[in-house]
Symmetry: C2
Subunit: 449 residues, 2 copies
Amino acid sequence: MLRARGGWRALRRCASLPRARRAVRLRVREALGAPEPADEVQVQGWVRSVRSQKEVLFLHINDGSSLENLQVVADPSLENRDLTFGSAVEVQGKLVKSPHKMQNMELKAETIRVVGPCDIWSFPLKMKKRHPLEYVRQFPHLRCRNNTLGSLLRIRSEATAAIHSFFQTSNKARESAEKTHFFNVPAFLTVSGQLHLEVMSGAFTHVFTFGPTFRAENSQSRRHLAEFYMVEAELSFTESLQDIMQVMEDLFKTATSTVLSKCPRDVELFHKYMAPAQKDRLEQILKNKFVTISYSEAVEILKRASQTFTFKPEWGCDLQTEHEKYLVKHCGEVPVFVINYPYDLKPFYMRDNEDGPQHTVAAVDLLVPGIGELCGGSLREERLPFLKSRLQRLGLADAYQWYLDLRKFGSVPHGGFGMGFERYLQYILGVDNIKDVIPFPRFSHSCLL
Amino acid sequence: MLRARGGWRALRRCASLPRARRAVRLRVREALGAPEPADEVQVQGWVRSVRSQKEVLFLHINDGSSLENLQVVADPSLENRDLTFGSAVEVQGKLVKSPHKMQNMELKAETIRVVGPCDIWSFPLKMKKRHPLEYVRQFPHLRCRNNTLGSLLRIRSEATAAIHSFFQTSNKARESAEKTHFFNVPAFLTVSGQLHLEVMSGAFTHVFTFGPTFRAENSQSRRHLAEFYMVEAELSFTESLQDIMQVMEDLFKTATSTVLSKCPRDVELFHKYMAPAQKDRLEQILKNKFVTISYSEAVEILKRASQTFTFKPEWGCDLQTEHEKYLVKHCGEVPVFVINYPYDLKPFYMRDNEDGPQHTVAAVDLLVPGIGELCGGSLREERLPFLKSRLQRLGLADAYQWYLDLRKFGSVPHGGFGMGFERYLQYILGVDNIKDVIPFPRFSHSCLL
């Protein structure tokens, strides 16, 4: 029956309701999905619309628990000056079967209390208006009242939970790496937790971290933020890049299936308005194995392309956005692993493939349509002599003595990857600008809140 | 039977093993708990001890999956120079019932491969030695090889998961608030996500966040870090401080029960060596309701105390550590909620109780034995005139215009709290120094890694 469950919901035992009127407090989502009618129900939320007719007053109430609003039907005598779009209300009454096909239940109001009025003249959101995302982005403290941002946050939350639960199978460790001033030595915000995860992977065979990450990207691009969330994983006793790629693919598919099945309406909102074909495409992608090509093959494909590129494709040069786009298209607009990059393009910790003198390293990037790089990973150089001589050539051997130590005391072949969480959301939802998939976007020259 | 499950463990389908030798790869924890003997098993890990006898070679292997090691029994011919304490090995053989009472299974080795040798002369950890926590703290990149840190990280991970799962019931939002330079305006690391959670609680009735938090505490105390993890929750349509306290208590109890039942051996390690009576105490605490006293009562109790305090207790002054200790002891060494603090002691966002002109606010601190403040929370001032005049008096009305806005457009009574995750771990495990419950402790004058 309609009863509050324990834990997080315990507070809904209505401690703040007067004893005489012990209504069951329901969230909008629960009210809409209630299996049967009920008396003495209370619902709280913000008014999304007010429609006053001669005989009846209609309200739509939303409390963030679902995309759908709850329809409230009331006697026109319950109307009052403060009952406007945007106001916060507490409605008490009977939950009854709705005569409308589109909804299961509606609330026949006995009392309506305006808890917090809304000054609609200065409120930047307007009733029943579809505001452009660029517009609502100016109001970081109010934009979560918007349908799109509401859906995004429910999806984001579900995806976060799915990623945690994907990794929470057995032993693992959480860590993140932030530093501020005042440590006697210069300290920086983390651009990656990888090196710290490598520390942990010297005692735990499977570790992951998921937290805020900082990059001073000076780009005003639609794919970069100064602060974003990254999930990173590291696996010990792993000698094959394929193992790492398998986890990347499993993570993507598991998280995506979970989000699609747990937030169907919210996901639909994005697909419908922003990327009409995305749902079918995702379903295809979840069924098939991701494509893998080597960097060298990628360069060959680009060289054979009829398209003219701004940057001429050449072995030894970085793949540019235009190249990534072409490769993904060439492979059929599906996620593509590109592996074994030139040694000189990649950071010191990546493992030499020994397919020639310092020729390629066991690196992998996962490219996806519309975004480009979604994940990056590699096997790490676990052999002390290789790592030492590379760091010495870079003049970094002293600074990274602790990192070399890890190769002296029971070193193991290992590798890992990172996935940008906002790019992941951007891709599965088909959102054009990365600023619209994070609650408080911060990027160069902009830190509104 | 002994088979790798999907997801995160998919990689253990042994892609890196030669086809001819398809052993089933098991973690130490799985090998120890195997329901029946098995041939062709592979276990990987780090050597915790080597004992060579005339007829037989004994190894203990640990891979971070459990506190217990797996005993490996081998022919002395398999011994080699590199097979030392600390080295990384891959052992293949038969899993057999152990003749020892203390363990279920052991591994009869057919091959032992040293994957990564360990230079034991320079390795700062020594075989079978109990190193003091202060000693291992000097080696942030190696201390996770230590039993205590290993247990801590498994417990930390379980507690993190329990907290997430406590809040992951229905709708909620995640956010965190980090900023770096280069935004055109000064930007700071977050000391709390509360104000941003309040933004979200204007559209979602239940929100939480859990991430790194920064405070420039100049204290060298055993209870402060410059970077720590904080879980924060905010509840809309909440008019009673009791509601907030109920969630605090439920969160504490749920997370603690989960950790106690999921990591019994790891928790036991801490309780045994650091806080022998803690287990019984925790069990009592989980059964009883937390004690609640008002700030005014607290001051009365302190004034009546026979003990002499360095800081004389007086209404209107902050509670000092010595006061908190006394109060907790007075209440029977259990968690104590102290509520309704003087208006002038607390930040501008706390709700005026109107029990006198600017007399007290609806604030709550949760004090626990040995630690002091574990959680802090309050109802927030949702009434525009109250908040505005307070901000005006502080000269902050312009800077917080956005925050005032939240009270103009459908304001709701709301409140929330934060819990320091490291203090939580310190308390339930009985760990003296907060630096020993976080993978990479950073505090004033120290940022080793």
